[in-house]
Symmetry: C2
Subunit: 157 residues, 2 copies
């Protein structure tokens, strides 16, 4: 009964935009699996949440909630950069994609990347880009991305 | 008289933020040396210029004007992305760096990259990143950058 499993998975793992209450559903702990992410206070979280929300469609954070556990198990963000090139074109930048270590192998990362790429396309971006490690290249190829350039970085702290 | 040359170069090549009148100083033609950049109307330019200006320090375009020719000969942009990771940290993204083909070899690209990286640092970013071709890797290494990841892209048009 594969179709029932798929349907029950869809009910269990709900894809949506970040809500302010997601701080209590493990959103920050999930980000800790990605990189350095110290705890922040409720006030700091709210301030950043509202700042990002004020950008409207120009900055969107996608989450997947495991409804059985009331826990955020995948996330990623996209922001829309406005340019002069390409007829005053727009580019989507995908950042901070991570799937909870306990929820891998269920295509949740692909769903997040698809949600973010769709958002970029629907807001009129001519392309969407992201930086990733060599290890994640094959994953993003399955999501329809191709390698183009290299990423350079300069740290201040 | 090397110091006089340096000083006269500094007077000739002025580094500053983009102004709306730069459309008449070859700013769009300079971007055409970077990528596809069809001409835009004055109204389209003004609209995008004001939209970007409304972001304040979160989106800055640097230009270098050749004062002898009243011509924009180098440019690059940086925008500040706000995150939840790294204590609600910020990251600068450098984009669209180009130096006029007639003005290369005078460290103008390095000045633009320096201006943009300084801006990111001064607005509190913990790092600044950019994507470039393998051919430009050595240039950005001279500007203090190191290679980190790979860039993936998905085009919509």
């Amino acid at each position: 009964m594969e179709s029932n499993t798929a349907s029950s998975d869809e009910q269990r793992y709900q894809v949506r935009k970040l809500e302010i209450t997601d701080k209590n559903k493990g959103f920050m702990e999930l980000l800790q699996q990605l990189t350095v992410c110290d705890p922040v206070t409720d006030e700091e979280f709210q301030e950043r949440f509202e700042e990002l929300k004020s950008y409207g469609d120009d900055h969107v954070i996608c989450v997947i909630e495991d409804m059985n556990l009331s826990k955020i198990v995948a996330t990623g963000s996209v922001f829309v950069e406005k340019k002069f090139i390409r007829n005053c074109g727009k580019v989507g930048h995908i950042e901070d994609v991570v799937v909870d270590s306990s929820a891998r192998g269920m295509q949740l990362g692909k769903k997040v990347a698809g949600f973010l790429a769709d958002h970029a396309r629907l807001t009129g971006c001519y392309k969407v880009i992201l930086d990733c490690s060599d290890d994640n290249k094959a994953f993003y190829e399955k999501c329809g991305f191709k390698q183009k350039e290299i990423q350079m970085v300069k740290y201040f702290i």
